[in-house]
Amino acid sequence: MDPMSIGILIVVILLVVEVVVMLLLLKVDKMLLLLPVIGVILAVIALVLNVKQDLIPLADPAPFIVVCVMIAASIILGLFGLAVWFKGESEARRLVTSEKSIDSAVSGIESDVRGGGMELEHFDDEMGEIKSKVDDYESREKEV
């Protein structure tokens, strides 16, 4: 097998892996899978054409150029699929981050409010203590 076929085969394998990963691990929308799947088909056609150049009724180097174009198109489709996935993911992360920032800010306010409430309770206790002390002093004053 000539080096060109080996390269095309690697592209095919990478695209298949991409499809499998996107399908199984990233759980992307099936429509998005079309891009790497088309890429795989184009790469496979390119491989076949590369092996059987005589199937192309064109003079050299036209068959070679066709193969290269097809393999380039399959690579572009594979990369485009990845780019679309990445863009969708970044958007999701951005939204989650915004949500988390609000959540933590609200929690901060909540802890401030709770802390303030507890402090107020403490102050009430302290001021109640002051009052009872004053009353106590006054009653002691009556006894002495």
Partner: protein, 895 residues
């Protein structure tokens, strides 16, 4: 009392509003001191006013005997003798009507009895002891306490005696009303005193209808609400409580003392022979105000702490306020953000197709968290709002706390004032401490607790002051004049010195080395002085207890004890308690003020009631004519309720609070008054005689005329005096005659007097009679020639005036002549009245002479009776014979 176990059961019974309040105070103080009521004590109150009884919060509900007013029918059925107007009472309780109080007692007697009996039986079971001490406290002015006291006392004594086989020791405390109270309570008090005195005078058992009418009280203390013109209610209540608790009478054995000093038996022994007389208490306390000082220090330290705390609170509050404001605005902002994110998430989720990727799992979690945050933000908004309100509330409370701080500051200043310029009364003397001393003592604050009063005063370099306030009252004898009632030990200071001289001449009184009047008759029975403080506060060398005792026994009491009570708990106070046993409240002589000053206003108020109204002031013997009749010897008519009631009222109306033997002490006083009157008469006659010695010049000169006019003016004045004297003497003789007659009537029922006294009295009577005879002769002689003598000298004067040459009659001489003629005419006119007055004296003088003879006869008869009894009396009492009284007329002095 020692610290040992005391098995004497003690019952304190407060009757009526004030009595209940005092018993409640005793219990409160007791609980405060010991934390609980002791097991051998019971505290009961009996009241007819539910509001007043409910105010006694320390007394257990089951120990409150509240007597409700019965309806008129029940009241009448139980008390047939009760007049219709008194079937109900106005106002609260018994409406201050003692007669109504007695009727109430009759209605509720069984209930009162069962309650007291249950308490006594409970005590007996609890302690196993069969001896009882019963303390009864009531006011004499009210309707409930004063009317029920005697019946309850008699009934309880009999019940306990029958039930447990031994008479209880009963002490009574009676509060006398002040001079400013209205007629009703003041009159009630005299009614109560009369009945109590009558009961107390029966020292032997007197059982009638299964009821013993003898004196139930071993000691009965009279205390006055009005001490030396000032209302001392607060002082009185404190003194009673302190007295009973500090000396260990309540609770028995609880006072921490070292060694045995005085127990109930000792006290009874000292009171023996004086059970039929009233007693009183005295209380004086000098304190170093350590507790107040410590309180001042505590407050002084507390104020900066509180102030610092409030500053911190203020700072934190403004911080919280800032946070709530920023939180509120942030929450509003977040709500907008949440909406935006939500919108963005929605937009993100809606994207589909080949060129879009949506992370559904991740975004769904974010969505739910965002919803939660949204809810939380909404809740927080409410919480922030609440917090805001709470911050406002806390700020208000902070303002209130600042006011509390101001109160604390004011309290500190008040205590400082009280420390630096304390309010001293006759019974309570806190030591004044200067501000510098307060500051310097603070450094040794902890040591102060252990230092003695004396050591603290030494530390302050005020040792002399300490002894002046604590030991000198004994040395100088001041405490004898500090009883809680207005009592005159001696009225020699208001007696005319002439009276004292006469009584002294006849041996009825003597004078000590310092010139003080010494009169055995004026002395009360027994003075017990208890000095209570921690041992190291006493300095025996400076105390002079022996000298005090000598001074007291020489001038004021027949016997005296000075006891030291080493009370470890009283490190910073020096208390002086006195028990004055066997007082003589009555007046020492006719026309003289009573020793117990309260009797002055009590009698005045009592006498304002006419016979019909008088019954509201009385209680004892109403409805019980048989015992009344047997005791007094006055017959009664069975079934004639109204008549019997009036007989009882009449008896009380005429009853006098005086011992029959003491009546003999009145005789020398009246005789001294008569002798003094005779002396005054003789002086008056000398003045009258002198008028005729007017000097008339032989020949005219301006100087001679002037002298004559002056002489006539003097003679005119003297004549006026003599005129007044003859007029006054007539009244005086009439009064003296009445006094003699009343006295003779009383003496006839007073029993025998001692021979020695009778002898002196007879001598006085003889001298009086002789003086009277001389006086009669002189008056007779003077009245016969007085007019003639005066006319003679006046004629000479007129002769001189008519002989003045006409050439000498200048305007000045004419003025003199006119004046002289006017004076002559006045003298003539007055002299005729004087002669008539002198002649009018003859009749009363003759009657007095007859009265004196009667008095002599009564005295000699009594002497004869007394000679036979004297030996027996001596053997029984073992006491010296009494000498006559020394006192003379206060009222006459005031007049």
């Amino acid at each position: 009392m020692g610290t040992g176990e005391d098995t004497v059961n003690r019952i304190a019974i407060g009757i009526g509003g004030q009595g209940s309040s005092i018993v409640n105070n005793i219990l409160r103080t007791l609980k405060h001191k010991t934390g609980k009521a002791p097991k051998n004590e019971e505290f009961l109150i009996i009241d007819t006013d539910p509001a007043s009884a409910n105010a006694c919060s320390e007394i257990e509900e089951r120990k409150k005997i509240i007597l409700n007013r019965p309806d008129k029918i029940l009241m009448k059925n139980t008390n047939r003798w009760l007049p219709d107007p008194y079937l109900t009472a106005a106002g609260a309780g018994c409406g201050q009507h003692r007669i109504y109080g007695r009727a109430m007692y009759n209605v509720h007697r069984e209930r009162i009895f069962s309650a007291i009996g249950a308490a006594a039986a409970e005590l007996r079971n609890r302690t196993g002891g069969r001896d009882f001490l019963i303390l009864m406290v009531c006011a004499f002015g009210g309707g409930t306490g004063s009317s029920m006291l005697l019946d309850i006392a008699i009934d309880i004594r009999d019940w306990i005696s029958k039930q447990f086989g031994a008479d209880p020791v009963m002490f009574g405390i009676g509060i006398l009303p002040s001079s400013k109270e209205s007629v009703l309570p003041t009159g009630n008090a005299l009614g109560t005193l009369k009945e109590l005195h009558a009961l107390m005078s029966h020292t032997e058992d007197l059982i009638i209808d299964d009821k013993n009418y003898s004196n139930p009280f071993k000691l009965f203390f009279l205390l006055g609400r009005d001490l030396q013109g000032q209302n001392r209610d607060e002082e009185l209540e404190r003194a009673i409580t302190r007295f009973l608790l500090d000396l260990g009478f309540m609770p028995g054995g609880a006072v921490e003392t070292k060694g045995k000093w005085l127990d109930l038996n000792d006290l009874q022994n000292r009171a023996r022979g004086y059970e039929d007389r009233f007693d009183t208490l005295g209380y004086y306390e000098c304190v170093f105000p350590t507790e107040k000082l410590f309180l001042f220090y505590d407050i002084e330290d507390e104020i900066p702490r509180v102030r610092q705390k409030l500053v911190e609170i203020e700072a934190r509050l403004s911080d919280i306020r800032g946070k709530t404001e920023s939180g509120r605005s942030e929450l509003e902002r977040f709500e907008g953000r949440i909406k935006d994110i939500r919108r963005e998430i929605n937009a993100y989720e809606t994207k589909t197709g080949m060129f879009h990727h949506v992370n559904k799992a991740g975004i769904s979690d974010a969505k739910s968290k965002l919803d939660r945050a949204k809810r939380k933000a909404a809740e927080l908004k409410e919480e922030v709002f609440d917090l805001d309100i709470r911050v406002s509330d806390t700020e208000e409370r902070k303002i209130a706390s600042e006011r509390n701080l101001e109160r604390l500051g004011a309290l500190k200043n008040k205590i400082l004032r009280e420390l630096t310029t304390p309010l001293n009364t006759r019974t309570y003397h806190p030591i004044a401490i200067a501000e510098e001393e307060i500051t310097s003592l603070k450094k040794d604050r902890e040591d102060l607790k252990n230092l003695s009063f004396l050591a603290i005063m030494r530390k302050l370099d005020r040792e002399d002051e300490y002894f002046r306030w604590t030991h000198s009252p004994i040395n100088d004898g001041d405490i004898i004049f500090n009883p809680l009632v207005n009592y005159r030990h001696s009225i020699d200071n208001v007696m005319a010195s002439k009276y004292i001289d006469i009584l002294h001449d006849y041996g009825f009184l003597s004078l000590d080395a310092e010139g003080n009047v010494v009169n055995e008759e004026e002395k009360f029975g027994h003075l017990i002085t208890v000095l209570s403080s921690r041992g190291d506060n006493f300095d025996d060398a400076r105390l002079g207890g022996g000298a005090f005792k000598s001074m007291v026994t020489e001038r004021f009491a027949k016997d005296a004890d000075v006891l030291k009570l080493d009370a470890p708990a009283r490190a910073h106070s020096f208390g002086i308690y006195t028990l004055m046993i066997g007082l003589q409240p009555w007046a020492p002589g006719p026309g003289l003020p009573p020793r117990l000053r309260e009797l002055e206003w009590l009698e005045k108020a009592y006498n304002e009631s006419d016979f019909t109204k008088l019954q509201r002031h009385h209680s004892l013997f109403y409805g019980t004519p048989k015992p009344f009749s047997e005791i007094t010897g006055i017959p009664y008519s069975p079934g004639a309720d109204e008549k019997n009631r009036d007989t009882v009222t009449e008896y009380w109306k005429n009853y006098e609070i005086i011992e029959s033997k003491a009546l003999w002490n009145n005789v020398p006083i009246v005789l001294a008054q008569s002798l003094k009157m005779f002396d005054d008469l003789l002086t008056g006659m000398d003045i009258a005689e002198n008028i005729k010695n007017l000097k008339v010049p032989d020949s005219f000169s301006i100087a001679g005329l002037t002298v004559l006019v002056q002489g006539l003016e003097n003679a005119s004045r003297s004549m006026e005096k003599v005129g007044l004297w003859t007029k006054g003497a007539g009244k005086g003789f009439a009064q003296l005659k009445t006094e003699f007659e009343v006295l003779i009537t009383k003496l006839k029922g007073a029993g025998a007097t001692v021979a020695d006294k009778a002898e002196k009295i007879v001598k006085m009577i003889d001298d009086s009679a002789r003086n009277m005879e001389i006086l009669t002769e002189r008056i007779d002689d003077l009245s016969n020639r007085f007019g003639e003598d005066i006319n003679l000298v006046l004629d000479r004067a007129m002769e001189f005036i008519s002989g003045i040459p006409s050439e000498e009659t200048s305007s000045s001489v004419i003025r003199h002549i006119t004046k002289a003629e006017s004076e002559v005419s006045k003298i003539r006119e007055t002299s005729m009245k004087v002669v008539r007055g002198m002649k009018d004296m003859g009749e009363p003088l003759a009657m007095i002479l007859a009265t004196l003879r009667e008095l002599k006869r009564v005295t000699e008869t009594s002497e004869a009776e007394g000679t036979g009894e004297a030996a027996q009396v001596e053997a029984v009492t073992g006491k010296d014979e009494e000498l006559p009284d020394l006192s003379l007329s206060l009222e006459r002095e005031e007049e």
